[in-house]
Symmetry: C2
Subunit: 202 residues, 2 copies
């Protein structure tokens, strides 16, 4: 019975994820999710306190997917450069794949619930941690200088993230940037990181 309950929770999560990924938060209604599952709308509220929490759960889910994916990919990688390229590519792939889910957090930046806000902070910290550990390995191997990695990782991440913001101007129009734009951004991020890493070499 409790197992069955968990299954239902998961089903809701999956269905919501599909809807959010396709139509975004604003254009997805609780009624639609319920209908997809042939559940009553009220049942959704039995498993999730409100729409926002459901969204947060979905977001957490996909963010974990990215984190695991990156962690897995980095296992076999040796050099700092290679590792950073992997991270950048995975990140970009992720943004492309879940654009409509992520869009809401960008649009709402300011007034997000504490829950969501914390989730984003955690996600950022995780990303920073990954970058940091990549650099850390470089330092240990004598490849990179011994600098304040906490700070450097943050700066590096900010540079990469910002690059995307500069190019993608119209966040309001909820229009997904085209492949060319994404590719151009990724190319710049790679080039920047190549120079950046070189600047950290011993």
């Amino acid at each position: 019975m409790p197992k069955n309950a968990d299954e239902k929770r998961l089903k809701i999560l999956e269905t919501a994820k599909r809807r959010f990924a396709h139509y975004g938060m604003a254009k997805t209604t609780m009624a639609e999710i319920a209908k997809d599952l042939s559940f009553s709308k009220a049942l959704l509220y039995y498993y999730f306190p409100d729409k926002n929490s459901l969204y947060a759960a979905v977001l957490e889910h996909v963010v974990e997917e990215l984190e695991e994916d990156i962690a897995e990919s980095l296992k076999s990688v040796i050099s700092v450069s290679e590792a950073i390229v992997i991270v950048l590519e995975k990140r970009m792939e992720f943004v492309k794949k879940y654009y409509y889910i992520l869009e809401y957090t960008v649009l709402m930046r300011k007034d997000l619930s504490t829950e969501l806000d914390q989730l984003l902070i955690d996600s950022f910290e995780n990303q920073k941690g990954i970058i940091k550990s990549v650099f850390q390995r470089g330092v240990e191997r004598g490849e990179l200088m011994d600098v304040d990695l906490e700070e450097i990782s943050k700066i590096f991440l900010f540079s990469c993230m910002g690059m995307r913001l500069v190019v993608v101007k119209d966040l309001k129009s909820s229009f997904i940037p085209d492949k060319e734009e994404f590719d151009a951004i990724l190319a710049m991020q790679k080039k920047m990181s190549a120079i950046f890493i070189r600047g950290l070499k011993v």
Copy 2:
């Protein structure tokens, strides 16, 4: 007589600049500008086709101020690092000083008039040119590697600009970021550029 006409045009420009710098584009009316000068509103339209053109003229004016200021400051500077720091500081000072004037272009990013759009593109190109010539001098002096400076300058500028966008989230609320935020951004930009430049060294 024509000289007097030019003077009036300039007076309008100055008054508009003061208003725009203090209240921003949206909160400044043509009637107010006219009243400040004891001109009739219609006279403003004799010298400028519309409010947008007046704004563009003001923006062009302040942008030129920045460009000249930077060019002047760079005359005496030798090393790449020093030069870049100067550019970053001047840029930030400029943003602080004319925040309410610049705000409009950021808010309206998408639907700006061709005129304004071109002005921003030109300004960006100018900034890129400055960075490029700084790097160029570094290359000539044998300080930096010989790379595609056009591309590198763009990437460098994007990284710096983006950094600000990442930190300043609420462009909508038309709230001026506080000194601490600006300082934090500038500090990161400086650190980033130090590593970046080191990454370009021969």
